[in-house]
Symmetry: C2
Subunit: 380 residues, 2 copies
């Protein structure tokens, strides 16, 4: 119940240990085709270039920025947590000129301030933003940004590592040009691949680059030649087993249905929050509509010892939750309810465990009301 | 029985599907420590920085070259096949000035010509070479190159993707500064990770870089901070399941013993070659001492239809072998005997299957003698 990896379904484990075939075997190529088709459904896109990169979510960040941004081009990076900060580093390394737009950690950006930034600097060619900031639990609204970018001749790059398959995300409708994710959050597969999707105009931009990208391994043109039916040009040996696992994880997502899955994540989060609030805790993100359902960041009250609680949960209950990062170290906990981990049993077990640990540590928190408050919401 | 992935032991499949823990969980950190220690044994090194990167073998190529080579620095790349060619591309993308030393595909380099290249251009700071060229089946002797590099102030980078754990490789004794491999060849684990090792002087060179490397994902300094005990600074979410699998695959390698494993690869290759020669085939690499035991490249005789034979083997016998690449397309087959796939049963089954397919295609090859010739060697 940390910020990922989330629990994995037994069917995904079974897929993971299915016997290997080669990366150019007709059976595997068929799996790749299915995988692409399922990824398109989950990303809500018809983008032809929708694939799983052979690295974790961070490799997806590097691939989207590294393929799109050419040396000297300006990119507006929206920074309100760890992953926006990371985007700046990645963009600078490939020669991008980074314009930082900052918000306090835990806050999100208004469409108007992004419009203003684009209006005040017509050289900006990219806007890069995190949908679900895992370091803070803040949910960035995206629906207006695509239009704003297109009006200003910019490409929209979205980090959906933690949101994909757990939260409404519409790549085509929202005019997202490049979007990357990871497998170990709401897709609920082990970490190791990065699903990405690129709009046709993004692909065109990449094909028209003046110089090759700095990375051969993540060169989208080369990777695309391997994933495209009728081409299948060997690039690198695909991580076969991880692709099997992702294929099965996507099947599970689609069996449940995206809307049902979003609703499940929302419902479990609401109950968790009700339980925490009944204990007197308060959520870091005050505006309920800006809270992530899969990553619940809660303030640690004064007098409650951060590390003791987390190690008590791990030692006595085998529950891992996330610590605060950066300015929030020691100030918040991050409770993950992602994919298979987003279950009523987990919410209730966590609340009961937390109460027990708090009682044992004699923290003064008035325990006893958490589970009931959560159950009350479930009973409605 | 292609150029990888090789067959995977059931224990490795079981490890792969072991329940996940987090990438900062104490249990996982202990696995990382063991994994490093086993990798050191297999690489025959005491290098502190010996880790598994979160990408396939090609990401290892990119990481070694990308971390070591700074923009404008000269690198001598030895090109005698696909992977030397790829190294040039990778080095140019990160800003290296590439000096190509070429040999016909299927040949290998003499130490003297590398010495000569270094003598004739004192700006060369790196020599990059492939130990086991998977596209041709040629084995590059390495033992003298480290001294030659050090005499000329250069760093030695070795591609050991296909050789590691199947062929004598001594990182420390041979003074290799950076060496990378893949998991899906002789380590006989699914593809997805890249074991790498860096000498202390290579690490020092990287720490002293004037500018950051172009890749955040493969930045060795950041990755090292995660792998180093006592630091464990979060970088990216490690591919937990693949690390479990590699841990088990390395255990299997060490249970067998490196020398035994090298001998097994050599013995099965000798029998395969004896069988193929008894059928009248000839090996691409004429000098027996320069042939790879894990990747046996054999010339396709005139009148034998390449694709029909390969598809017959796949369809009727479920055997995949590798086609020729580049100048050898249609001219050679590449028969893999790697890790778990390097077994007497595979050698004999392949020879029997090949004879059956050749007979059915009425190729004129005099069949019948292959299995006997292979068995004769095994009986000795």
């Amino acid at each position: 119940m940390g910020p990922g990896p989330s629990d994995v379904h037994s069917r995904v484990y079974r897929a993971l240990s299915t016997q290997l075939v080669g990366h150019l075997d007709p059976e595997f190529l068929a799996i790749m085709d299915n995988l692409q088709s399922m990824l398109r459904t989950v990303f809500r896109t018809e983008n032809r270039v929708t694939i799983a990169l052979s690295g974790t979510g961070s490799s997806g960040m590097e691939a989207t920025i590294g393929n799109l941004v050419e040396p000297g081009e300006k990119i507006l990076v929206c920074v309100n947590g760890v992953f926006g900060t990371r985007m700046c580093d990645v963009a600078e390394r490939v020669g991008g000129r980074v314009v930082r737009l900052e918000r306090a950690w835990g806050e999100v950006f208004d469409a108007s301030e992004i419009r203003q930034a684009l209006e005040s600097d017509s050289d900006i060619r990219f806007v890069s933003i995190v949908h679900a900031e895992t370091s803070t639990g803040a949910l960035q609204p995206l629906s207006e940004l695509g239009d704003i970018c297109q009006e200003h001749g910019a490409y929209l790059i979205v980090d959906a590592v933690t949101s994909l398959a757990g939260l409404d995300l519409r790549v085509d409708e929202w005019k997202v040009d490049a979007c990357y994710s990871g497998t170990q959050k709401c897709l609920t597969c082990p970490p190791g691949l990065s699903p990405v999707t690129f709009s046709d105009r993004a692909v065109e931009k990449i094909r028209g680059r003046k110089s090759k990208g700095v990375s051969w391994y993540l060169d989208l043109n080369l990777i695309d030649n391997y994933w495209t039916e009728g081409q299948r040009v060997y690039h690198h040996t695909a991580p076969i087993s991880m692709n099997y696992a992702l294929h099965e994880a996507l099947s599970l997502v689609l069996e449940e249905g995206l809307e049902n899955r979003y609703a499940r994540h929302a419902s479990n989060s609401r109950s968790l929050v009700a339980g925490l609030e009944a204990l007197g805790f308060s959520m870091l993100v005050e505006d309920e509509s800006k809270r992530l359902p899969m990553l619940n960041s809660v303030r640690i009250p004064d007098g409650v010892p951060d590390a003791d609680v987390r190690s008590g949960l791990l030692r006595d209950f085998n529950i891992e939750i996330g610590a605060g990062l950066g300015p929030f170290a020691g100030k918040i906990w991050r409770v993950g309810l992602m994919g298979e981990s987003s279950r009523r049993e987990n919410v209730l077990f966590f609340l009961a465990a937390l109460e027990t640990v708090l009682r044992a540590l004699d923290t003064g928190v008035k325990v006893g009301a958490g589970v009931d408050a959560a159950m009350e919401l479930y009973r409605r």
